[in-house]
């Protein structure tokens, strides 16, 4: 058996975006010793995700290349952490906590409500591509539960009305 073809190289990415990536990465690299560039893999992938939308093999290779490490290292990180997306998502990401303290204050009902609202199951994207809905683990907002993240910003002490207000503002 031959190896499958390697899909995606850093060269196929738009040059402008790659330059943007390099500028932002240079800023982040100042936080790590010069001989420990690979430590910046998490921030590098976060930047890549912000600029390119999600972490395609090409974006992973770009990060690995710039940090002087292997693409396997980039893939290992991109697939381990839940905040990294290796597939396209909707224009907005809505993440609802359904852990214990949130459920004791209505988090699971909220999640059910949103599944119906967007016509999706966990992880699905609405037909219009506007929202990807995800169930997430404890967000550290247990006293002000239930909580959700919308595009990584946290909203707390939610009820259906408040959720409608927040989500109604999304494009």
């Amino acid at each position: 058996m031959t190896n499958p073809p390697l899909v995606g190289t850093a060269e196929e990415l738009p040059r402008e975006k790659v330059e943007h990536f390099d500028r932002d990465l240079a800023e982040v690299l100042r936080r790590y010793p010069p001989d420990r560039k690979a430590a910046a893999m998490l921030p590098a992938l976060r930047i890549g995700q912000e600029i390119f939308g999600y972490l395609t093999p090409a974006v992973q290779r770009l990060a690995a290349d710039r940090l002087g490490t292997s693409p396997a290292r980039a893939e290992e990180v991109a697939t381990f952490y839940v905040m990294f997306n290796t597939r396209p998502i909707g224009r907005h990401l809505v993440e609802v906590c359904t852990n214990v303290s949130c459920c004791l204050t209505g988090g699971d009902r909220l999640f059910e409500y949103l599944k119906h609202k967007y016509g999706v199951t966990n992880g699905g994207t609405s037909q219009d591509g506007r929202v990807t809905l995800r169930e997430v683990e404890c967000l550290g907002a247990c006293g002000t539960a239930p909580a959700m993240l919308v595009d990584e910003e946290m909203y707390e002490r939610l009820d259906p009305k408040k959720v409608e207000e927040i989500l109604g503002r999304l494009e």
């Binding site: 420990r36 893999m41 839940v82 004791l104 699971d108 683990e137 550290g140 539960a145 002490r157």
Partner: protein
């Protein structure tokens, strides 16, 4: 019993996160004092203070610091702000309301331990807290508090950086945190060697929780004995307890380390909504064994909770009223550990999913009495068999829920359904105003 507030006294003040607010309240005076002390004398004060780690394990902080090998440099400090244990929500408020207290604690700790590079590892979901902390670090640096000369007077260069995680509970485990900080997936390392000996990039590394480090300025300013005097036995100072779930007033409360759990729930949190009774309490984050409602008249001090068969852990208290289904609650907790198991060790990787599946099966009325026994058997085969404590963290809830609420598990089996129907999470699931260090949310 003391009313002294160490950690929350500035919370809610206007601009409490600003450097000028902190300085106006005497901030960075402890660092100034520390710079006039011998580093070893600072370590001695922390040892005397009986400060115990606030991340969950309750390990003596001063003792941990002495594990650093004498002659190896560089050494690193890593502050654990990966607050992810369900029920725990305290460190975020230290960062939101008083980031300079944390920064001053880092600076003193680094000076005491001859460390010149510190990272705050903050969970990825805390984007706002990361911004606040980065702004505060930049402000301290611009004002000459940090940089080449501490407070502009002592030749001691110190850099503090924020490293954001990206969504993984396991990275709160200290060796997984180091892996993540090195740019890898969060696989815990075999110990020994412990991080104090072989840590970040193979160098000696001290890892302390946010709340732990935030206590250091007060200890230096007031002395280790004074801090020890606020506590009891081997536990000094005050603690932040976060209470959530079925209480009238959830929130974060700074209390003496030996505060009474029942009093915290019934008085500080205003009791249970609707006058219902406490059915169960998880006293220290979701991994700590559950207590029945009649077992909560206890001190929250680490050793006292241990004597009561649980753990004070991270101070995250979750309250369940008597309309809650304990099987449903355990199903959710088990799902969490199955989701968050990193997959490195077979007992945890496989066992957590089995447990989740079996508890779900029982909750949905398809379980048998043998399933209940099997749960205990699986849990017993995970605990102690894995590289890190996640395996134990997943087992302890299962073992304690089954032991303390066995009748309820068996009722699900006998009735072939959940006796609580659609209201497994309680009759009243509404959100209530919280009181966080005296600030209303």
């Amino acid at each position: 019993m003391s009313e002294t507030l160490i950690l929350t006294r500035r919370w809610g003040k206007p601009d409490s996160a600003a450097l000028r607010t902190y300085r106006a309240d005497g901030g960075y005076a402890a660092l100034d004092k520390a710079l006039g002390m011998e580093p070893a004398a600072i370590v001695d004060e922390v040892k005397k203070s009986n400060l115990r780690g606030r991340g969950g394990a309750g390990f003596a902080t001063g003792l941990k610091w002495t594990f650093l090998p004498k002659d190896i440099r560089p050494r690193y400090l890593t502050v654990n702000a990966d607050e992810s244990e369900p029920g725990t929500f305290k460190d975020r408020y230290i960062i939101e309301h008083d980031p300079h207290m944390l920064i001053e604690g880092i600076a003193i700790t680094c000076y005491a331990l001859d460390i010149h590079l510190a990272y705050v590892y903050i969970r990825g979901e805390f984007a706002r807290q990361a911004r606040i902390l980065e702004a505060a670090i930049a402000e301290a640096r611009a004002a000459g508090v940090l940089g080449q000369r501490l407070l502009g007077k002592k030749d001691f260069d110190l850099d503090i950086f924020v490293h954001r995680g990206a969504g993984a509970y396991i990275c709160g485990e200290e060796s997984a945190l180091l892996e993540s900080l090195e740019g890898k997936k969060g696989y815990p390392r075999l110990k020994p060697p412990f991080p104090a000996v072989v840590g970040l990039w193979g160098k000696p590394t001290i890892i302390n929780n946010v709340e732990t480090i935030a206590n250091v300025p007060w200890i230096v300013a007031n002395g280790g004995d004074a801090f020890a005097g606020l506590g009891v036995g081997k536990s000094g100072g005050t603690r932040l307890f976060g209470v959530s779930g079925h209480v009238n007033r959830p929130g974060v409360f700074e209390k003496p380390v030996d505060y009474n759990l029942k009093k915290l729930i019934m008085e500080d949190c205003g009791g249970i909504p609707g006058g219902r009774k406490v059915k169960a309490v998880i006293p220290g984050g979701s991994s700590s064994p559950v207590l029945r409602g009649d077992e909560i008249d206890i001190s929250l001090e680490f050793d006292a909770v241990k004597a009561a068969g649980s753990m004070s852990g991270s101070g995250g208290v979750i309250v369940f009223d008597d309309s809650t289904c304990m099987v449903r609650a355990l199903a959710r907790i088990s799902k969490f550990y199955a989701e968050e198991s990193c997959g490195q060790c077979t007992p945890c990787r496989e066992g957590t999913s089995w447990m989740e599946g079996i508890v779900e099966k029982i909750e949905h009325g398809h379980g048998t009495a043998a399933d209940v026994a099997k749960l205990e058997q699986i849990a017993g085969n995970i605990g102690g068999q894995t590289i890190c404590a996640l395996g134990d963290a997943a087992s302890m809830p299962v073992q304690s829920f089954v032991k303390k609420f066995r009748d309820e598990f068996l009722r699900h089996v006998e009735e072939r359904r959940c006796p609580f129907g659609d209201h497994g999470w309680g009759l009243d699931q509404s959100s209530r105003p919280a009181l966080v260090g005296g600030v209303r949310y």
